[in-house]
Symmetry: C2
Subunit: 371 residues, 2 copies
């Protein structure tokens, strides 16, 4: 009788990080014909064939990898499977993948270090505009509980197909803030992460069964993403008041930041265009001109940008990777901003539409907020 | 360009719950030779062969299932794979599985209902006894934030191989409390869920990389489970004081409960044997006499039980399923308790060593606490 033995994984080591940052992945699969490795560390997210050895273990060695966080899965005879030797699994919407962390300078900002940790709380609030009680995650910085101070707030938005857990599970926003605050590089701030899908209350496991039985969570996410203009209204009229009543918050423009990636970058633009008096710090990650969506009205957009410019936001930041599939749309956005004379700061990085960029952008943006 | 389309799952419906509570599982797998269904809804956790149709979709229909929560995975040519059509995935330690909820009376207590929701917070505390900063989850009931009241506290312990997230992800403890409190069946209470593995700081994704690179999380869980007596000391000397300083808590025996399952049931027994003055409500789930572990000292145990009896706990509850692999050990425990004249309440259910029982036990126990 052993309560633990039954839960032990096979003694196979995977992934094995070698000293030179090459990595070996292994899967024991005697009955499988083919095992491939897919993941964000492969260029173009290509699937690499693994080789079966005499012990029926499929293996592949890749690298060297730049120190960062990657996610991967195996494809076993065409079906996606997690690595049973690695129980660190992260989720972004429907994407459930194994995590691989290669230690290094950037990873140090994402890791659980020996510094004071803030709290991450899942809480529910009423959205009158969306007609539902919704879940959001709230990071309160170290010391918040014992302090009498009020804090600035960053509202942080996820991308299409994601949910309120993505910036924690994939984005490591809480640990990034812990580490930046400990190093004196970012001001202690509250970070609020809502669900950006207008027809969804919450992450899949926290969605009421009644809703899930009507429609799959993925279908709801797809539907909800199309109702973008209700998200800005709900953010400003439901969520911000909820946070400002329930947390010790500096409730003014100077102490409010809004940032988002991809769909959340679109929502960041929409929100600040519609409510120019609300945020002094604005970060648009991996999202350009939204003329690709229906009902785009350039004249209106230009008027909104001029109104926003008049409120003199302290930072309007646009960042994108050179390989991002939305790169061209960012060129279009910059062209418009330059045409209008709208002031912004531009950050171009390597890489594409990826969490590797979004995490890095947060490490660069958070220190800029509330100065 | 569609930010959402790229994230959409295939339109296959799986699992499909039919009106009579039969369920069809489906997986498209043109390259696979064999797909099996494993899960807690199968007797003996057996793996059932699925049948390939002309569209290369493997299918199986099972049932009727008793309304409850089940978890399942597929085995594709011998390798475990998640259901890509179902993005509700739950984790208990290294076990990462799809969730299937069949609506019904019991499930209603586990689901996200239209009632006020408490908050779930991940927070870190210093354990001087274990020499590390550790993560725990804290449920605060609806109204806690606005109230000036102090609350009773339930300390809730997970099983071997699990971690501080298991009672939330698999156990639905927060929604169980939300629903029982809304129905007036349980007193509003705080629930504190620590990590019960003495050598681990936290759940896999929240464990520092430095630790993970030394040893796999699963190995640490196995090692940590063997150092059971440090967990009671840390619970009483590190965690309880942390909670009582940082939350509005009724800090006395009458308002403290301790319950745990399997390894956590062992730790519940150890803690209340070693610290008989601490808890008035005690729940031991799926764990019997721990004479199977080394260093068992019957004489000492009897003396401890007599001392505990003298403190007159209001409830000492022991529950187990008839098919539990630890059932015999519970018979041994009852024999000893009866021999000593130690008062306890016994609950025997159908089923085995499973979350189906542990969730149900919590719905029965929580209403008994703090009356």
């Amino acid at each position: 009788m052993n309560l633990v033995a039954q839960q032990q994984a096979a003694p196979l080591v995977s992934p094995e990080i070698l000293e030179d940052n090459f990595v070996i992945f292994r899967l024991r699969a005697p009955e499988a014909q083919s095992v491939k490795l897919g993941g964000t560390m492969n260029s173009d997210y290509s699937e690499l064939e693994m080789k079966k050895n005499e012990e029926s273990i499929f293996e592949i060695k890749i690298g060297p990898l730049i120190p960062d966080i990657y996610v991967y899965t195996f494809k076993v005879d065409g079906v996606t499977a997690l690595d049973p030797s690695n129980n660190v699994v992260v989720r972004d919407g429907s994407h459930i993948e194994n995590r691989l962390m290669i230690p290094g300078k950037l990873t140090d900002l994402y890791d659980v270090k020996d510094v004071p940790h803030g709290k991450v709380t899942a809480t529910w609030y009423l959205s009158s505009i969306l007609g539902m009680t919704r879940r959001c995650l709230v990071y309160t910085p170290p010391g918040y509980g014992k302090s009498l101070d009020s804090y600035p707030v960053l509202y942080l938005l996820h991308g299409g197909g994601g949910d309120e857990e993505a910036w924690i599970s994939r984005g490591r926003a809480n640990y990034i803030l812990d580490n930046l605050i400990a190093q004196g590089k970012a001001k202690p701030m509250i970070v609020v992460i809502p669900n950006g899908n207008a027809s969804i209350t919450s992450a899949p496991g926290d969605t009421p069964l009644e809703l899930l039985l009507q429609q799959s969570w993925t279908q709801m996410a797809a539907a909800g993403a199309m109702v973008g203009d209700k998200i800005p209204a709900s953010l400003v009229n439901d969520l911000i008041p909820f946070i400002e009543v329930n947390y010790r918050v500096k409730a003014n423009k100077q102490n409010r930041a809004l940032a988002g990636l991809s769909m959340g970058g679109y929502q960041t633009q929409l929100t600040t265009n519609l409510y120019p008096e609300k945020f002094d710090y604005i970060g648009v990650m991996s999202m350009g001109l939204y003329s690709m969506f229906g009902n785009y009205d350039k004249e209106q957009h230009v008027a909104q940008l001029k109104a926003l410019q008049k409120t003199n936001p302290k930072l309007y930041w646009v960042g994108v990777g050179k390989a991002d599939f939305l790169y061209e749309s960012v060129l279009d956005l910059r062209k418009l901003y330059d045409e209008v004379g709208f002031e912004y700061e531009y950050r171009e990085s390597e890489g594409g539409h990826s969490w590797n960029n979004w995490r890095m952008y947060l490490t660069e943006l958070a220190p800029r907020f509330f100065n």
